[in-house]
């Protein structure tokens, strides 16, 4: 044991700052989450607050809006998951057909950009361009004789706006992994197909798509673990009381009820519920991806 420490002590020392930070800011809150099973009052502390068991978890499901919030979360996250898979794949396939490097670079430069801007910036832009009082999108619709759409004030349109703007922000960046796969395909395969008389469309259908499938499956499976992440950053920047019925998700609810209204225990319980479901899904999806990835590599 002494020999072990003599040999490895510098490694432990170098790890120490990171360990302390992770312990303090990740593991301590993990234990702090026991307040979900209490009626926590800040002045009583964890030791002094009364225990109530699963009371708050039960309350979530009897809460008038509880089911609606879980449903909102699932539907927004579900549609995002599907759209954020299909659009990048199609985009990657189309971009891969571009032969002029200059044009390819040009497109890439523009479509990757929104990913790096925060939802604060993009939310500010969206609120301006989607406004019914002369926002540029509604002006465009009006010029085609279409009535102004209340994108951020009407529940159904709000969900649509949330999903579409998320795809808009992320499709380019999500396509990188697919593009890398496409670029990595051995050109000899296409050449052989061409000699056999395959058209370009047949080459895409019979070579590009099948060879991209394993990575598509992996990405899809891994994103299942985030099915309860409907986009806290995004929604908190563009929602408003008019669309709570359709746009309120678990995370925004936790923030409003838990922090703003001071229901610490209830908020923690809802957050813990989400975290636990997410954890189970991640473990399952990693297992699945591992199986599929194995099949991909070997």
């Amino acid at each position: 044991m002494a020999a072990y420490w003599r040999k490895t002590w510098p490694f432990h020392v170098l790890l120490l700052p990171a360990l302390v930070l992770v312990f303090l800011f990740q593991y301590v809150p993990l234990f702090g989450a026991v307040i979900a099973f209490q009626d926590y009052e800040p002045w009583l502390g964890i030791k002094g607050s009364p225990w109530v068991g699963f009371e708050h978890f039960r309350y979530l499901f009897t809460y008038p809006d509880g089911k609606q919030i879980i449903w909102n979360t699932l539907i927004i996250a579900g549609f995002k998951l599907i759209a954020n898979l299909i659009v990048p794949i199609v985009f990657a396939l189309l971009l891969n057909e571009v032969r002029k490097m200059f044009f390819k670079r040009f497109v890439q430069t523009f479509v990757y950009l929104p990913h790096f801007l925060s939802w604060v910036i993009l939310g500010g832009i969206l609120i301006d361009i989607l406004s019914t009082e002369g926002g540029i999108i509604n002006r465009l619709l009006n010029s085609f004789g279409i009535q102004s759409v209340f994108f951020l004030g009407d529940g159904r349109w709000f969900r649509f706006t949330v999903i579409l703007s998320d795809v808009w922000k992320e499709f380019g960046f999500s396509a990188i992994i697919f593009l890398a796969t496409l670029v990595g395909i051995n050109p000899a395969l296409y050449e052989a197909a061409e000699i056999d008389g395959a058209t370009r469309w047949q080459q895409v259908k019979l070579i590009s798509v099948p060879l991209m499938m394993p990575i598509v499956i992996v990405v899809a499976t891994l994103s299942l673990g985030r099915i309860l992440d409907a986009g806290f950053d995004q929604i908190l920047n563009i929602y408003n009381p008019l669309v709570y019925s359709h746009g309120d998700i678990i995370d925004t609810f936790v923030y409003r009820e838990g922090l703003n209204n001071g229901q610490f225990s209830f908020g923690t319980a809802v957050g813990l519920f989400k975290s636990a479901i997410g954890f189970i899904l991640i473990v399952i999806s990693y297992r699945m991806a591992f199986k599929l990835a194995n099949y991909r590599i070997f």
């Binding site: 990171a18 571009v98 925060s118 009082e133 002369g134 951020l152 058209t199 920047n237 923030y255």
Partner: protein, 292 residues
Amino acid sequence: MRYRSRGYTVFTISNTIFLSLLSLICILPLLHVFALSFSSRAAATANIVNFWPIGFTTDAYVKTLSNVMFLQSLWTGVERTVLGTVLSMVVITMAAYSLSKSIYKFPGRQIYIWVFVFTMLFSGGLIPSYVLISKLKMIDTLWALVLPSAVSVWNMILMLNFFRTIPQELEEAAYIDGAGHLRVLWSVYLPVSMPSIATLSLFTMVFHWNSWFDGMIYMSNPDGYPLATYLHSMIVSDNLSRVGVTLESVANFSNRTVKSAQIFIGALPILLVYPFLQKYFVKGIVLGSVKS
């Protein structure tokens, strides 16, 4: 010859047009805000500004930059970005050095890796973190903004993967010359992996510059808001007035050019580092996905 069919030519042309449109859709909203910020108030209120300033004026920027609250939050934003990035990179680099060693050289690394990776899978959630920060008396301090996020496990994994590509011979030569681990990290690892460190630093900077939520909950007073949080509170009130939840609609509306200017200033640092980001992130993503 390759792809000479007429169908393919038609496809190439329509594909080019489609991809050009797609690129435009990604950039035009930003351009619109840019145009608004340099337009006159009258033009903005009359809704005639598209993608080019009408009645060019720098009024909105003059107003923005003489707004004390804005300047203060701009400064806080810069402060947290610099402090947060330096802190995070130092901590991550040290940890990644240890974790990049093979299990033979550093038995026990596996346990550490799991301690870190577990935090990616499960978290206590928003409220326990808030309770902790307030118990630590970090409310209203910069530490609340930089310490909790300092250990980005994802960046740490990327970094240790970079370190693993460094040839063993280099460090062995250094050990033979009598260098210790710190010396090897400083004089061998760091110079060799400068591009990777620069890349991760850029990502961390972007992360800090864009973070707004922690500023909102950990700063009890708007005086302490970093820029992103300041912008958030501004656009939220803008949104509420536009959908008619509050009654200050008219007053807010006339401020449109100033808001656009503030949004654009908020986006500017990202736009400035974007060319450098773009140069590296593809590598980072591909490397990360292959290795993990």
